[in-house]
Symmetry: C2
Subunit: 413 residues, 2 copies
């Protein structure tokens, strides 16, 4: 029998406890021994909860209990999660988590501590909620060098964009609906500004390319500037707008490319059909080609399912799993976004200049049109070039009195 | 260092050897020790091949070498693969394979022998080629009871259907093209009659529901009867025709539902956008909801990638992996397809009867139309009912002199 402690009893924590009780028999079969919740660390009372007998308020009670072998840290945030995780690993307890902020900031260090103490630090639930992605990335795709990853990694923003696309809602209305349905926080910044997607992108990039990638180094744009007009122009060329986190292995001696931003992608592609609160993650391996993983990126039971899957893995592992690791880094290992070569959608307005002038500046542009397009508005897709160059040409447009009201990368996923 | 023998040196076998040599360093890091190919079992000479020094023709040389710890069986077919696999497992050697025919027929037995000898029998490559599916199904989704699986499991038929849909080719022309490109065998029966998809469905069902499901028990229809007219009617209601293998857990005390057949599914769903030779597999878990895995379902390197991933797993496993298992069965555990409740697309022709008569028989039908539809032709989707009932009504139609020229299930994936 393996004793488990669950740190935190919010949405994910209560889901973890429920799944461990509900699927107890099949979990015992799969893990090879019984999984027993011994403690739940809480900060307040839960009167009437069926598990009050397991609840404790003192973390040290868990830390000092040598019977606790696996700890599920589902509190979120950097502190006290970091201190608790470190302490558990140093005491030879494996830790599993859904805490993307912690993994994105301290992953390399915590993995190293786990290795030194022959235990595991697993975080399947930190990316893609209920989608198996971390495990497949380092285990099932072990035969591959991962060249590139790209994904719709945040369900809240994907819900908002889906409503803007399918029901022609404004950003503000779609956000309000997401808040009403409990998909978005009252302060939605972490989602709509792209920070959540950035953390997940960093975790995937670190694991795929073998060195720590910090959120602060990854150029991140959210979806707050996206308008219904942009959505309509995108539709006119068979595209949808999605918030895409992506990272690409650098050529030998070169830096990793990584970015989080809205992008126009084909509406009928594997990522283009990921709608509502779902997530989709594309992995490009040198042997296997493109593999895409799709499922619920958040929610109580999908996330709990991943946490519990990791608990089973910890129970079965005789030692630290060697493939789940990456090197620490000092940061600064991501290429300058100005060097990023991309196609770019631009929406402009001007009384004088128009598509002709854009063409003379950018070369082979793809003009776009939409219903109800005002006479002074024009939009087009500029051919692939470095963003530095695109920005210089945009400055030229602006000198001509052109106002740029939309600027979104166009990607091939 | 771990010594490996590769049985067979065809497309997959040579891919396995190439990946093991090419990614040697990263594989050593992930497996925790070096992977060394010691033998390649061949049936003919390969003059000029860089690995002739490793080639042997006598299986016993491999079997009797106690240094060989992992054997990759990539020969295909039931014999001698079955005899060799059994012998290796009984000698305490782990076996990994891409052989879906063998797993679908003898999986429960071979898993049992592996368990008795504390080794592993792994077959990630047997379903979905380079897509991680077997491993995620029993490991990453361990917290779930799997309720249902459904997939586009055969790349050849999906290529043919994609050409029929996107380029309006006939079945015969699309098959000829697939043969020309090397996607289809000269004798394409195993693919176009659905047998290959059936074997894969059985493997997924056995693993998901915990008891062996035999191909002979699963009602299987291929795509040879699909016509351009059916494709056009499907498009008129936002659908595409795909060959779908699916299986659903039976309610307590009831049999498993499983079937392989063409089906109309939404063109913009996760499975509906799986085109060309790609595969897509949907897994419905009680905790995580729907998860979809997408990637190359066949081909030298995708399949080799899965085989090599399994080799890494064998090297790391201290004992038999407890979650990869299912009970033997005598067969007969799949429900009668006549009891299957489904919506059904029907294409009919008659000088007398028409949609009105269909409506009086089937109730709330959805009428369909297509460009160039002859006056005596009519098509519709009948509401959900048991196939037994649908067939009785079809008999009624036929008594009225109606000819049924198309009959395809309509699914909700």
């Amino acid at each position: 029998m393996v004793n488990i402690a669950v740190l935190g009893y919010g949405t994910v924590g209560s889901g973890v406890v429920e799944v461990l009780f509900k699927n107890r028999e099949s979990l015992q079969r799969k893990a090879g021994q019984a999984l027993q919740v011994k403690y739940i660390l809480v900060r307040r009372d839960f009167p009437g909860d069926p598990h009050t007998d397991l609840m404790v308020r003192d973390f040290n009670q868990i830390l000092e209990d040598p019977q606790v072998q696996v700890v599920a840290e589902v509190m979120g945030g950097l502190e006290p999660a970091y201190t608790y995780t470190r302490a558990c690993l140093e005491r030879g307890k494996s830790v599993v988590t859904s805490n993307k902020e912690l993994v994105a900031q301290y992953g390399a260090e915590l993995l190293q501590i786990a290795r030194e103490h022959h235990v595991n630090y697993l975080f399947e639930a930190s990316v893609g909620g209920g989608i198996p992605i971390i495990h497949p990335l380092h285990l099932c795709l072990a035969a591959n060098e991962i060249e590139e990853i790209a994904g719709i990694l945040n369900g809240t923003t994907n819900f908002i964009l889906t409503k803007m696309i399918q029901e022609k809602m404004s950003f503000a209305d779609a956000l309000a609906l997401a808040q009403q349905l409990g998909y978005a926080e009252r302060d939605p910044a972490a989602d709509v500004e792209g920070h959540d997607a950035c953390r997940k992108t960093c975790i995937l990039a670190s694991l795929s390319f073998g060195e720590h990638v910090y959120p602060k180094d990854v150029h991140t744009e959210g979806i707050t500037e996206i308008t219904s007009e942009d959505v309509a122009y995108a539709a006119s060329c068979g595209c949808v707008i999605k918030l895409i986190g992506r990272a690409k292995r650098g050529a030998p001696g070169e830096k990793i490319q990584a970015m989080v931003s809205p992008a126009l992608i084909r509406h009928d592609s594997q990522l283009g059909t990921v709608d509502d609160v779902f997530n989709g993650i594309l992995v490009r391996g040198d042997a296997t080609g493109d593999v895409v993983f799709y499922g619920k990126g958040a929610g109580k039971f999908p996330t709990a399912s991943s946490v519990v899957g990791d608990i089973v893995d910890c129970v079965k592992a005789a030692d630290t799993i060697p493939s789940l690791t990456w090197k620490p880094s000092q940061g600064g290992n991501v290429a300058d976004p100005q060097d990023n070569v991309t196609r770019m959608y631009l929406r402009c307005s001007s009384e004088q200049a128009g598509l002709g002038y854009a063409k003379s500046l950018f070369g082979e542009i793809q003009p776009l049109s939409r219903e109800g397009q005002p006479s002074e508005e024009f939009a087009f897709i500029a051919p692939a070039m470095a963003e530095r160059e695109i920005n210089a040409k945009i400055a030229n447009l602006e000198e001509m009195g052109v106002t740029i009201s939309g600027k979104i990368r166009v990607l091939d996923y």
